[in-house]
Symmetry: C2
Subunit: 222 residues, 2 copies
């Protein structure tokens, strides 16, 4: 039974990759750079987008907002006058825990691809499955809240390995935590030696410019 | 294709429920009370277990430790001289994001059921899927770190609805966060009006006794 199950999953991932390639081809044709933006729940994805997406010099950004249900985050981002498309995953069994390529494809007709240069796909808050599904992005970014502790890269290596940048958020809380930042960084390096790390506090603004610069550089390189 | 996929998932949940009933019957026969212990990554599940499982008066506790990979948490708990059984989910496609009844069943032969009264199943860190799979537990508990923000009960209602108790951890950080505790509690009540709430700081010890008392009362009621 176990063997059968693994086979089904592998076939599902094959299908996902085929659709992801089609998505990427459509994004490329439209000249839109796409970031798959991931984290555990509450790490600060929406806040980091609120702070930058409306103010990227020369870049028109849009957001595809993935949630199990509701539109709380999309409402926050729409208030920044950025085009936001909501994608809910709760049509399945109480809610899928990640976005896949087919879900993103189903949203393509609603995306204003002619009016944006950069699309941030805000994934469902989860450190496991979102990293396993290519949605057609050009880069993967994750936010990690220091409050989550120093050992998570070793426990969730697929996510940390998959990302091009790790934004280390809530750095302002470091004096109040039993967390060793150097050890966290060493753990990240153990699973992804070359990943870009940005230390940031969405609350104080420290590091926000570096996050903007990363998005701008990604767009320029596209 | 979507319809087919939902059917498969529903069948999988049916099978899961059948196996969960068998697990619960085995636990009942052995006189062991079982808690399914869930949270997002880094909320503090392992720390809360470290603080109490070795010192529950008159109750012999054991832990079934679910992780995608590695045994970091099991090692921490074994140091407390509590029987710990490790269950890794990474034999699938990079790691399942939750425990299901069949995974727990596969661990039954390794569990020292004759030597314990209370088994805590520490689930994979994830606010979505773990709540959807009965593993054969008698109660569900979750830990929520206040650092995750005040709106998560509305975004992940299945988890908050499924639980018998929500341990609100990291309460010592409240002065340093832009989080309204009253609003968080109201959001919890909106999806689960009767759930028990325990405000706690694993760091300062505030609320730990209430968490112990909840586990002891659960055991007495079994």
């Amino acid at each position: 039974m176990h063997r059968t199950r693994v086979t089904i999953v592998e076939e599902a991932l094959d299908a996902n990759n085929t659709i992801a390639q089609a998505n990427r081809a459509d994004f490329d044709r439209a000249g839109v750079t796409v970031v798959n933006f991931m984290s555990a729940p509450g790490a600060g994805k929406t806040t980091l987008l609120e702070r930058v997406v409306a103010d990227l010099p020369g870049v028109r950004a849009g957001v595809l907002e993935g949630d199990v249900q509701g539109s709380l985050d999309a409402d926050r981002l729409a208030a920044k006058h950025v085009p936001v498309t909501q994608l809910n995953t709760d049509s399945g069994f109480g809610g899928e825990c990640h976005l896949d390529a087919n879900m993103v494809r189903s949203a393509l007709p609603q995306l204003p691809l002619d009016d944006i240069d950069l699309l941030v796909v805000e994934n469902v808050g989860n450190l496991v499955c979102p990293a396993e599904f290519d949605v057609g992005q050009h880069a993967r970014a994750m936010v990690y809240a220091l409050t989550e502790g120093e050992e998570k890269p070793l426990k969730y290596p697929v996510m940390f390995h998959a990302c091009d940048v790790v934004v280390v958020n809530k750095i302002d809380l470091l004096p109040h935590l039993d967390v060793d930042l150097d050890r966290f960084v060493a753990n990240v390096r153990a699973v992804n030696p070359t990943v870009r790390l940005i230390h940031l506090s969405a609350r104080t603004g420290e590091g926000l410019q570096e996050w903007c610069d990363w998005l701008l550089a990604l767009r320029r390189g596209a």
